[in-house]
Amino acid sequence: MVKAIGKIFAKIGFIWDKIKYALSHNFIFRSSSNYWTFFSFIKIKITNKRRQSIIGLSFIMIWIIGYLIFALYPIFYSLYLSFFKVKLDGANLNMTFLGIDNFKAAFLYDPYFVEILVGYIIEILINVPITIVFALIIALLINQDIKGKGIWRTIFFLPVIIISGPVIGELMRQGATTLPSIREYDLIRMVLNNINPGIAAPIQSLFDTILLVLWFAGIQILIFLAGLQKIDREIYEASMVDGAGPWASFWKITLPSIKPLISVAIIYTVVSMSVFSLNRVIIYIRNVMLGESTDALINGYGYSAAISWIYFIVMVLIILIFVGLMSIRKKART
């Protein structure tokens, strides 16, 4: 297989060479080893540095083109649309300038959006730390000297191939992502019944979503595991000689050394939870865009562009808050 792929690329390389020859030996542009000539009279000396950057840029070129077409242009176009009332008129867009009315409507007029958005924010703020903690615990467990490491890793990484798919939606609808057995324990039920409902409700909902939250931890487990394996074993041995138990060495060695990874894992978690296809906000955005609401004020392309921008800004703010919290604690400690 290696050879086959190599051969394919070798063939492409051959075609590439032909094209390159045609491109570099014509009357507009001619290249020799030290000079580039345009129209036979503009000569540019090619230094090694210049050549490097030109070759580099030509490798990057496909990304730059893709970025302009599929990232930069859509971003600004949707920002532009968000200031308009857009009506579909056949294939054309019929636009009326609204200023920031779309954004105002999202917060003041729309009966659903703020509620859904607040629900999302609370969910993220609760679930992200839980995901991170569980991912860390599982990574620590797998990193121990245990039997069947490969099997455990296979199990804990399995959700990654499921969570991105539609099966998860079916599981949620069927109630398979809640763990019924947890709530069937009398002890837990008793505790839940006897404490303040204000505290009980979040715990209750935590039980209902715990599985989903755990399933989000697949990649994060790998991130932490990779980090843990990079820590030098000798440090642990040295600390053990000095009398540190596993508890102390976790807080003093393990946690500080994987701290940068926690920020990475947080960003990944927030992003993957935010673009998760069953997230209520993004379902709402798509419904608005497809015009499923009857209310003309909160419908259509313009409004959906506006709320997706609000959503994006909220998401970035959440990431900044989490990463900010991480760095504050770091400063306090040193």
Partner: protein, 326 residues
Amino acid sequence: MRRLIRSLKEIFSLLIKKEFAHAGIKTKRLFMGVKFTDGLIYKTLIYALLFSFGYVYLYPILYIVTNSFMTMEDIIDAGIKWIPSSLNFENYRLVLVELDYFKSLLDAFYLASVPALSATVSSAIIGYGFARFNFPLKKLLFVLMLMTFIIPPQITMLPMFRMFSKYQLLGSIKAFVFPAILGQGLNGALFILIFYQFFRMIPKSLDESAQLDGATPFQVFTRIYIPLAIPSIIIVFLFSFVWYYNETYLSGLYLRGSDLLSLPLKLEQYINNYTSIYPEGSQARELMQAVKLAGNVLTLLPLLILYFFTQKRFVESIDRTGITGE
């Protein structure tokens, strides 16, 4: 296990010899270990945690597999929770026939593998460019590249939908291939990062000697670096394939109303058609639950098979992004 039995034997023999103090030390060592982490208490704790987490992780999969075999009576019967009363393949037969499973599967593979392949090729080229060359604004471009990861598809979805409909790319696989071939596919930034990290690790002397032998930069890339990068290529392709296979949010938008539907979408459509025939709460609808689950198992099955054969590659992937810092 053998060690446990041996140390238990030792302790008993000491007890028989009435050397209680010695036996006490041995017992303590058995439970607490020399440095606690090798004691029995610690080991039990670790395995207990592993098994309970493992159960939580596998629970939904067990649930869909067992429930997909249930008949209508089994679903209604409250006494049957886990094990169906008989092995009933009717649900699977329904899905296989009604969904035209094997043709849909081929479609789904086509829809996933072509964009995944284009994403792999493009991210290898882009990652190589970022890793090996210096050019003006490199840092800025790299940061912009990483930023694309956090931009939610909701923002770019609408303009892209307009653009695709303008150039008549809707309802065809091109709507996924074009962004992928230009490095903007699903999670493209992550893949570029994997290749970037890989190509950066290889010593530069390798391509310098090739250049002295007269190889062009592109030849150096295809003949020297690509063969070296095969493991990374496989990882990126697998991930990309899984993500494209599972993708329903964008494909639901871009492929609406076309014949080319991914398997998950087709299942959804079929279920919707089926449920709309029957009224709410009727028995046929209850049965649909099991059929739906059977459909989901069949949707998931190719991925699961793929995963069990290639799980090592998946697990390697994070090491290769190099986010752990080299």
